[in-house]
């Protein structure tokens, strides 16, 4: 490759008079026969050729070496593409079908590049405001002049593959005018990517800029499209557990893709993804991409509340029998309908269901129906269950809320403690540090070296066995099947004693209920309700905390979801209480 590039240089070597040139890493010519290096460098000769240069695929970039920091020319969007590629590979390794990467994510990304006018369109954004000319015939090569049917397009599968895999397919040839030439390299504002500076300053209306958190939005959209068995909270937990590249994902860029200057602001991330933020991003991305209605979420899908609630019942060690009740609540509230569950970005108010939170909220509602969770009834029911279990040791045991609470409290506290310790030990800084400018570079590298040396010293003091071993990914965080003395498994316990027979059907012994939210907020502050811990019973607080830890979300978010489900479940009561100006807190259940 380098030898080929050096072919234009036709002078004789001053030492051996041969005409056989190669290019050094600095872009200078050297004689291949006597290894004499000239002062002439590639750039100077090549300037006229730049506007005509073709970039074969985006993620390959030009392998032209640059003066200051040797490396490829690359665009910011290539960086994101690389991250998406890594994430897709990681998801594949987690067991997600290969179509997710090759078809869905690939097409979403292509569509994004097109919508944001970065590729696959007539006037890519890189030409705007610049004098560089794009030769018309370059464009006529491609058939992207007319908008392609993106989601059915299978022509350019190789496009998203890494540079090594991709073939230079005539279909995907794309013209990228080089903008780097106009950037003063000595200036303090600089970047390793070609358009890093411009990218970080760009503020165009109607264009959704790519950010690192949005890569996860892309991942989740693809998972949702494929109706995979990974919820958003699972995805984010995998990110936190380092199963999916996210923090310092740029570390795994090819060696030649250099990052510095403005790239630092674009690609470094110092927080774990936040559920609400990614959820919001996901809707924004879907709307921006103008995606059609997603495949229906039916009862056969993992994300359906009936299925998910079963999963979470198992996760928190609640009796299987509760599943019947959760299904009933799902049916009564209508949250199991495909129309309700399916994501449709084109619909007027694009809104997706937070499947995991919703399923958990259903379980909480059921717990409230059964035990009231008023710090009183659940304990007296537990007393009954305890007495019964004492007397009938052979039978299937009755579910004892107190015992469950004790087991869960202990397990969760331990888990939480471990989680906090692991978080505190998390290593945020990448092995290859990013710097703002060349002046910074030696300082940053020296600092890095120092930290590494100090770390070595302290790790020598620690026992050789690392305490933070990487957990293998699992959608379950607890394991209740193991026979353990203080880890009773409640899956097989029965709800007898809480339910009574009435004619043909079973009804709950408890006939009372209280609403998590009496009155919903109707102002423009976006939240529908607030959660003030001290206003609620301890049992309710415990249950909320337990589940919100499980999903790694704020308790207020879960409380809100519980309230919304109750709103659907007690629609009639809500309209009544409105009239009665809600005098009593307790609503009789029908």
């Amino acid at each position: 490759m380098e030898l080929e590039e050096a072919k234009e240089f036709k002078e004789r070597c001053s030492q051996c008079a041969a005409i056989s040139w190669g290019l050094t890493d600095e872009g200078k010519y050297y004689c291949t026969s006597c290894h004499n290096v000239t002062e002439r460098s590639k750039e100077v000769i090549n300037t006229e050729a730049i506007p005509n240069a073709k970039i074969k695929t985006i993620n390959r970039g030009l392998r032209r070496k640059r003066k200051c920091e040797k490396g490829w020319d690359w665009f910011v969007c290539e960086g994101f593409q690389h991250i998406l590629y890594q994430q897709a590979e990681a998801l594949k390794a987690l067991g997600v079908g290969p179509e997710l990467k090759d078809e869905v994510l690939h097409n979403f990304w292509k569509r994004y590049l097109q919508k944001s006018k970065q590729a696959y369109c007539k006037n890519p954004i890189y030409t705007s405001g610049r004098k560089t000319k794009v030769l018309e015939d370059n464009i006529s090569h491609s058939d992207w002049a007319s908008e392609p049917e993106l989601l059915s397009d299978v022509n350019c599968l190789s496009f998203v593959e890494s540079g090594a895999e991709s073939q230079s397919d005539a279909q995907t040839q794309k013209s990228f005018p080089l903008t780097k030439a106009s950037q003063p390299e000595s200036a303090s504002v600089c970047s390793g990517s070609l358009d890093g500076v411009e990218y970080s300053e760009r503020k165009e209306k109607g264009i959704l800029k790519m950010t690192v958190p949005r890569t996860l939005a892309f991942c989740y959209l693809s998972l949702l499209w494929q109706r995979e068995t990974i919820t958003l909270s699972d995805l984010l937990r995998f990110v936190e557990e380092d199963h999916i590249p996210y923090i310092n994902a740029f570390q795994h860029f090819p060696e030649e893709m250099k990052l510095y200057g403005r790239d630092k602001g674009i690609f470094t991330i110092e927080s774990w993804p936040d559920y609400e933020e990614i959820h919001k991003n996901m809707i924004e991305v879907a709307t921006f991409l103008d995606l059609p209605r997603f495949p229906d979420i039916t009862e056969a899908c993992y994300l359906h509340p009936s299925v998910l609630s079963m999963k979470y019942l198992m996760e928190v060690n609640l009796p299987d029998e509760m599943h019947g009740l959760t299904c009933q609540v799902v049916k009564m509230t209508g949250i199991g309908e495909a129309d309700f569950l399916t994501f449709d970005p084109i619909a007027k108010m694009a809104k997706t269901v937070k499947y995991d939170i919703q399923a958990v909220a259903v379980i909480i509602v059921v717990l409230k129906l059964l035990f009231l969770l008023d710090d009183n009834l659940e304990w007296s029911l537990s007393d009954l269950a305890e007495i019964h279990n004492e007397e009938n040791k052979q039978d299937k045991p009755w579910f004892d809320f107190r015992k469950w609470y004790q087991v869960m409290k202990k397990t969760v506290d331990e888990k939480k403690q471990k989680w906090e310790e692991t978080r505190a030990k998390y290593m945020w800084k990448s092995e290859k540090p990013l710097y703002h400018s060349y002046i910074d570079r030696p300082v940053v590298y020296k600092r890095r070296e120092m930290v590494v040396n100090l770390q070595k010293q302290f790790s020598a003091l620690v026992d050789s066995t690392p305490t933070v071993e990487k957990k293998s990914p699992s959608s379950f965080q607890f394991n209740w099947t193991k026979e353990d003395a203080d880890k009773t498994c409640f899956h097989g316990h029965s709800l007898q004693g809480i339910l009574i027979k009435k004619g043909q059907s079973l009804i709950t012994k408890n006939s009372l209920y209280w609403l998590s939210t009496q009155k919903f907020c109707k102002s423009y502050c976006k939240h529908v309700t607030t959660y003030e811990e001290s206003n609620f019973s301890l049992s309710y607080q415990f249950v909320l905390n337990l589940f919100s830890f499980l999903l790694r979300i704020k308790t207020s978010l879960l409380h809100e979801e519980v309230s919304l489900i109750e709103k659907k479940l007690f629609k009639k009561k809500y309209s009544e209480t409105k009239q009665k100006s809600s005098r009593s807190r307790k609503v009789r259940r029908h």
Partner: protein
């Protein structure tokens, strides 16, 4: 570690606070205010997880240190070092000192750590954030001293002494002085060792004169090192003490007096009882006139009325011809016995008993009453309760007798303490107690008319 690091950082703590916290006009320090200000700076934005986890990590380290779990602390330290790369430059700059303090503490106690590890760590930390160079050098030297490596410590101090960093070094002048002073202290140590060797030599010996010669040069070097430090306001007890000892040995009494007087009387220096004690002891050695000694002790009396030198003060006052001095003598004794730590000081009680009898014989009843008035509602329970009578008698009969006499004088013969001691039929003390009973009858201030 913390023992001496505390000592080192004391004089410079003021500069410290300017850097890392909010210093109010009155010199008060509000740690929470800094936290509050930080959130204002970030504009109410959510703290990054990086910041959250590192501060959680810091908490874990502190907890581990508190529980002496050096292993865990080292583990967390490994992660906490990231803060040196914090993108927040404010935090990054504050980090080296925090890391040094935590790290040195861990390395001081960790079973797998040794002098070598500690020194490597110190050398690394010295060069992160130049401002800490001197402080770390000093603490490193103290660590080496602790491990008995005097020469290494001396080398370290010499290195630190020559450290210069533009304007930064002038702002840290006091630290340089401190470094030099510690070097001086090390020289004092060798000098002192030589002195004890010398005392074993014969004065006519040839070796004697060379040894003295050496010692003189040694003390000259030390004076240069310590001099600068003790001129700056602060508490420099060990330095002053050793410096004065060397000056006295060389016969430079005037310089020694000058230094001690300055150390005690210069208003810029913080109030320091030891400064007055050193001066007093020096003057006593010099056999200075009583008036001079009284002046020094008067100040000490203001600062530490319970000091054991107060009894000497009392004796000096007692011998004085001036009425006011003699009155003060009584005041001082009462003052000493006001303190819980002195309640069993038999000398103080003996002096008080004697002096009370003397004063009452000389008809100074007013003086006694004056002192007694402010104490009569709490001394009885504080000193003269039935409980004390019993336990004092059990522990120390002499003390009990002295106290009983004082109690009798001040509270009258009906007082419980006095009566309890009187009831004890002791073979040896029988005569003494009888005499005591008589005097009490005669002099008790309770019913002087009778």
């Amino acid at each position: 570690m913390s023992d001496f690091s505390e000592e080192v950082t004391k004089p410079i703590s003021e500069d410290d606070q300017v850097e890392t916290s909010v210093l109010t006009g009155t010199g008060m320090y509000f740690p929470w205010l800094q936290k509050h200000l930080e959130t204002v700076v970030t504009g109410g934005k959510k703290k990054k997880d990086f910041a959250q986890t590192t501060s959680a990590c810091l908490n874990f380290i502190q907890e581990a240190l508190l529980k002496h779990q050096w292993q865990q602390a080292a583990e967390y330290m490994h992660s906490y070092l990231q803060i040196l790369e914090d993108s927040d430059s404010y935090k990054r700059q504050a980090a080296p000192e925090v890391i040094w303090r935590l790290g040195s503490e861990i390395l001081f106690y960790h079973p797998k750590s040794n002098v070598e590890t500690f020194s490597t760590f110190a050398d690394r930390m010295k060069n992160i954030g130049v401002l800490n160079y001197l402080k770390i050098s000093l603490q490193h030297a103290l660590y080496l001293l602790h491990h008995g490596l005097l020469e290494d410590a001396n080398r370290n101090l010499s290195q630190a002494e020559t450290w210069r960093y533009g304007e930064k070094s002038s702002s840290q002048e006091i630290l340089i002085n401190l470094v030099q002073a510690y070097k001086g202290l090390l020289q004092y140590y060798t000098w002192s060792k030589k002195k004890t060797e010398l005392s074993k030599l014969d004065e006519d010996d040839y070796a004697y004169s060379t040894a003295t010669q050496n010692m003189l040069s040694e003390s000259w070097k030390t004076s240069v090192n310590i001099c600068a430090l003790i001129k700056t306001p602060g508490v420099w007890d060990p330095f002053v003490k050793s410096y004065v000892e060397m000056l006295e040995f060389c016969g430079d009494q005037d310089e020694a007096r000058k230094i001690l007087t300055n150390y005690a009387y210069d208003e810029k220096f913080p109030s320091n009882p030891n400064a007055h004690i050193y001066l007093y002891n020096f003057l006593k050695r010099e056999k200075a006139p009583r008036a001079k000694l009284l002046n020094v002790l008067k100040i000490l009396y203001q600062i530490v009325p319970s000091h054991k030198l107060m009894l000497e003060f009392h004796m000096l006052l007692k011998k004085s011809e001036k009425e006011e001095h003699r009155k003060l003598g009584l005041e001082v004794l009462f003052g000493v016995l006001d303190f819980a730590g002195c309640t069993k000081n038999i000398t103080a009680w003996k002096y008080l008993a004697k002096y009370l009898r003397q004063l009452l014989m000389e008809n100074h009843l007013v003086w006694v009453q004056e002192e007694w008035n402010s104490r009569k509602n709490w001394w009885p329970t504080f000193h003269f309760s039935y409980f004390w009578a019993k336990s004092d008698w059990k522990e120390d009969t002499d003390l009990a007798c002295e106290k009983a006499f004082v109690a009798g004088i001040l509270l009258g013969k009906g007082c419980r303490y006095f009566r309890y001691i009187l009831k004890q039929d002791h073979q040896v003390l029988r005569k003494k107690i009888k005499r005591m009973k008589k005097s009490v009858k005669k002099y008790s201030i309770v019913n002087p008319r009778v």
